[in-house]
């Protein structure tokens, strides 16, 4: 599975939304996430990709595309 698809899957599963609604331009807020759900989502990324985000990193991630780019960058 590509990294893009994996990120999409994690978001869909964590937020309980259909995978097809998780398009790159969407923000987590638009996908129905409140601040607690975003924290939970960041934890899921950390677990899946074995990375650690500091609070600044986590706060900078607001959209699907930003997350994909961030993970690509840090795991490159």
């Amino acid at each position: 599975m590509s990294l893009d698809a994996k990120v999409t899957e994690i978001i869909a599963e964590n937020l309980g939304v259909p995978a097809e609604s998780v398009t790159p331009d969407k923000s987590f807020e638009e996908l129905g996430a409140d601040s607690l759900a975003v924290v939970e989502l960041v934890m899921a990324f950390e677990d899946e990709f074995d990375i650690e985000l500091d609070d600044g990193d986590a706060a900078s991630l607001k959209t699907v595309q930003q997350t994909i780019d961030f993970v690509k960058n840090i795991t490159a």
Binding site: G16, E40, M43
Partner: protein, 412 residues
Amino acid sequence: MRKVVVTGMGIVSPLGIGLETNWKAIQEGKSGIAPIFLFDDPSGLATQFAGQVPDFDAAQWMTPPEVRRYDRFLHLAVAAGLEAVEHSGLVIDDSNAKRVGCIVGVGLGGMPSLEQTISTRIATQKYRRVSPFFIPGLIANMAPGLLSIYTGARGENWTATSACASANHAFGAALRSIQAGACDAVIAGGAEAVVVPTTIAGFNAMKALSTRNDSPETASRPFDKDRDGFVLGEGAGFLMLEAEEMATARGATIYGELAGFGATGDAHHITAPRPDGSGAVDALEMALADGGLNKEDIGYINAHGTSTPANDVMETRAIKTVFGDHAHSLAVSSTKSMTGHLLGAAAAVEAIYSLMAIRDGVLPPTINHFEADPECDLDYVANEARQAKVTAALSNSLGFGGTNAAVAFRSY
């Protein structure tokens, strides 16, 4: 003062999901007690069985992320609470939302979440991996919180906690709220789901639980000579309580009147009741007086009847003290013989069984009554349900801390 009536009921218990499923099982005298299936390998525990809700899929009531984030007692609370609201037919909308409250009795709260987080995150020092939903997903008052979110009820919203009497305190508070005019309706009940090793080990340490591992179905035997402790159970029960004039104005079906409430404290011991049962006596008498009921009006008492050696003798004494000669002409039963002890939800499901007894003229049995304890000599409706017209019933509950609470229901 305004009368308060019951217009809806909802329940999940070890006997099943839903009002009619439960009532059928009660009338058939079924046991809901089974070897533990809610967690793996209970073999190290002194007690390896419990009353567990069978075939419960929380995803029928909420989304998968919500199921994951909320503790099991919240799943059960939502299922039973929504059934009660639906059963009542009350439409909660902008015209009445601020007049509809939600008060829920919870004894322990999110013990499973607590246990899991401590064992997988805290004990391993993965502090940064504690879920942001850990706290909101386990606090006791998230039960009324979620029910308000799902139903739109915006009246008073809180949790009563008094161990095994919690739900009766919730009913009492709801009664007062409606009588005083603070609310016109209250979704009131109790929820508990703590079948996890932590809880069982804790109660085992107190020697409070039955250890009849070779025969789980007969382990809960209130008032029986060989009873050896209570059986832990889980579940939730809810009543839709409404001001009489509101219920009649909308043509609601009324299942009975919540007529009276009585509550006292023992000032005696952290877990043992006063041996003479005087705390319970006073609570029962208060509930009768509060409801304007004569002793002879009471045809049925749903007893606390935990199946512990101390409770059942004490409670029998208390009933005899309150009722005198009439104690031998009324029926007393403990539905905990079938459900186990639902702690904070116990009084909630027991109120429902009492109301169904009034509705259908059927007395719930005390199953597993094999040999009478000489000190427990009332009519416990042994082993088989019985037909009898009931015009008024009491439901009695006592809790650790020396708390006593009773409610009285009258046919309507």
